[in-house]
């Protein structure tokens, strides 16, 4: 008996130690970022790194808010993030619905190959994308970034939403058809409300990727169309890396996706379709 509970205790202890180790690994960089954003240059550059106890300063925040174009970058990021997320979900949703329901030649191939496209790293696309933008002379326009992010995110969104659509029983649509619904009414009044979770999940991924993307944004934006990550990189200068300011910017960059995720996650209600079919 004692032997058993001892072993049990050891196992639980092991679990928690592993969890703590993982949590530290995940949270430490965030802490370093937040902490550094409140340090002045002297503390940042000091030989003995100060982890917890230092005199905090808001200088870095004051600097990025007042000098430079933080507000423009933020606005650009918000526009690009929301517009490309909306477009991705709208187009990807219809596409996934068709793949999940309509019968046509090559359906299975398309459904399975969407993810393959996702395997291509964005960096590979950067040069051709840049060439296209230069050829068509459309740099310095946010629409370009929205377009590329939508294209980049579509395969994954389609794949994800496809899985969600397949979980919704066909009988629900048939019942609605019998009840007299047109195809559009079936989609908007039956399918869409049931897909809230799916769209929320896809939205979180899509928005996060669009928000954080760096390489394409660096190449395809000009002075007035820079997004926040590109703006942050601007603090790497010839005269040195301004760590405090980069970290302050980084801390601010993290906030909108967090808010977005909290909002979207509230739409994810486990077992939304529960109770639709069977007894």
């Amino acid at each position: 008996m004692a032997d058993y509970s001892e072993r049990r205790f050891a196992r639980i202890l092991g679990h928690y130690l592993a969890l703590i180790a993982l949590a530290v690994l995940a949270l430490a960089p965030i802490w370093i970022m937040v902490a550094t954003s409140f340090k002045n240059d002297v503390i940042v550059q000091s030989k003995e790194p100060l982890w917890f106890f230092f005199v905090p300063t808001l200088d870095n925040y004051a600097y990025i808010m007042t000098r430079g174009k933080f507000d423009t970058y933020l606005w650009n990021s918000v526009i690009v993030g929301t517009a490309s997320t909306f477009l991705t979900l709208a187009l990807g949703g219809f596409c996934a619905y068709a793949l999940a329901r309509a019968e046509f030649r090559g359906r299975r191939f398309i459904a399975n190959s969407t993810l393959l496209i996702r395997m291509v790293p964005p960096a590979v696309l950067a040069v051709p994308a840049f060439a296209l933008v230069v050829v068509f002379n459309i740099d310095n326009d946010l629409a370009v970034l929205i377009f590329f992010y939508t294209a980049l995110n579509l395969p994954f969104a389609i794949w994800l939403l496809f899985g969600f659509y397949k979980q919704i029983p066909v009988e629900l649509e048939e019942a609605a058809i019998i009840d007299g619904a047109t195809p559009l009414q079936v989609f908007f009044r039956i399918m869409l409300p049931l897909m809230k979770s799916g769209y929320a999940v896809a939205g979180i991924f899509t928005f996060r990727i669009a928000w954080n993307e760096f390489i394409l944004a660096l190449l395809l934006t000009g002075r007035n169309t820079r997004t926040l990550p590109v703006g942050a990189a601007g603090f790497i200068t010839d005269t040195g890396v301004e760590w405090g300011r980069i970290m302050a910017m980084g801390t601010l960059i993290v906030i909108p996706p967090l808010l977005f995720t909290f909002f979207a996650a509230r739409q994810i209600i486990a077992g939304m379709v529960a109770g639709a079919v069977k007894g």
Binding site: A175, A274, K278
Partner: protein, 366 residues
């Protein structure tokens, strides 16, 4: 003609023919049950009537109107699905009123119709609940309610009770029969359960392999099955089939391995015409009897038959005997005697007026 009619309907899925050719006419306000084993095409038939499935050839009429190529909403039908298919994001009232809202009916009328349907189905207290907060039986009622608020010309049911437990199923059967009387609408009901078919139907349509085997009232199909499929499908436990041969010039008896039963005069007359052919004798379990209870009655049509009983299953009102006649396994249902008297092998009686004969090759009734 009013009612529902299928005229030479053929259904193919790609190269597979599901329904070779089917004609069926259903009277107005009739309760017709289509019954058959799974994969017999009964659900496909219902879905073609509903308009969820196109016909490959032929015509479908509902209420005298050719609806073959009309979408479901123009067919004046309502349907209850096996899985209920309730809209999970709407409450009970929302589920029941969905069709009326789509049709743009005035609010007052919608409320009134939902209220009446809910009363009929005892759902009034649950109108604000979501499907996930309902029991299986309640969900079933909501599914019914959703169809009856429509006040459609024809109601279609696709195995609506198969997800309920046995007790609930039998009470819903009764309710459905009452509902049919109240609404007085054409109802087409698909099931694989012959008890549901027998208890509710005005007429039963028995299907196998996409072909209608027999159409008739429950009494018809039980008393005069047209072939061995119908005979074996209708009745519980199902009919015993024993290979046998006709005896004598006038086919006075049928004899097989371990049994010989005299034939009723009328059956003998019919059998005489097919004499020489090998037959299958059909004996329903319920037409067996324990010897003691009938002894001494000279007018009886009962004949002796030997059963080698292996197991007796006591079910209260009667008991089922798993037994052998010759080498063939049979089931007999006989009255349950006193417990002190275990059922054993020996001579039992069979009602010879209830012997069925089938052609051994075609399976058709003689």
């Amino acid at each position: 003609m009013r009612g529902v009619a299928l005229e030479k309907v053929i259904k193919r899925f790609g190269p597979t023919v599901v329904i070779p050719e089917m004609s069926l006419s259903i009277e107005e306000s009739e309760f017709v049950v289509i019954v058959g084993p799974s994969g017999c095409g009964k659900s496909t038939t219902l879905r073609m009537i509903a308009g969820l499935e196109d016909v490959s050839k032929g015509k479908i009429r509902i209420g005298g109107k050719d609806v073959t190529w009309l979408p479901p909403k123009q067919r004046d039908i309502a349907m209850v699905f096996q899985s209920y298919a309730l809209y999970p994001h709407m409450d009970v009232a929302g589920n029941m009123s969905f069709a009326l809202r789509l049709a743009g009916k005035p609010k007052a009328e919608i409320e009134e119709r939902v209220r009446r349907a809910a009363e009929m189905l005892e759902l009034t207290d649950y109108l604000a609940r979501k499907p996930k907060d309902l029991s299986g039986g309640q969900r079933q009622r909501v599914a019914m309610g959703r169809s009856i608020v429509r006040d459609a010309y024809c109601f279609l049911f696709d195995e609506p009770l198969s997800n309920l437990d046995a007790k609930l199923r039998s009470s819903m059967r009764t309710e459905l029969a009452i509902l049919h009387k109240k609404l007085d609408r054409t109802m087409i009901y698909v099931t694989h359960d012959q008890i549901e078919a027998m208890t509710m139907a005005d007429r039963i349509v028995i299907m196998d392999k996409g072909i209608i085997q027999q159409v008739g009232t429950p009494r018809d199909v039980y008393n005069s099955p047209r072939n061995t499929f119908v005979a074996g499908f209708i009745g519980s436990p199902s009919m015993n089939f024993l290979d046998g041969e006709l005896r004598g010039e006038d086919a006075v008896a049928v004899k097989g391995d371990g049994f010989e039963l005299p034939l009723a005069p009328e059956l003998a007359k019919r059998a005489k015409k097919t004499r020489g052919k090998k037959v299958v004798a059909g004996l329903r379990p319920e037409h067996f009897a324990v010897e003691a209870s009938r002894a001494g009655s000279s007018e009886s049509t009962y004949a002796k038959i030997r059963l080698d009983v292996s197991v007796a299953e006591y079910i209260g009102s009667s008991q089922f005997l798993a037994a052998k006649i010759g080498d063939a396994h049979v089931t007999a249902a006989v009255e349950a005697g006193p417990a002190s008297e275990p059922m054993s092998s020996g001579n039992y009686l069979f009602d010879t007026s209830r012997v069925y004969l089938f052609d051994r090759e075609s399976g058709n009734a003689i």
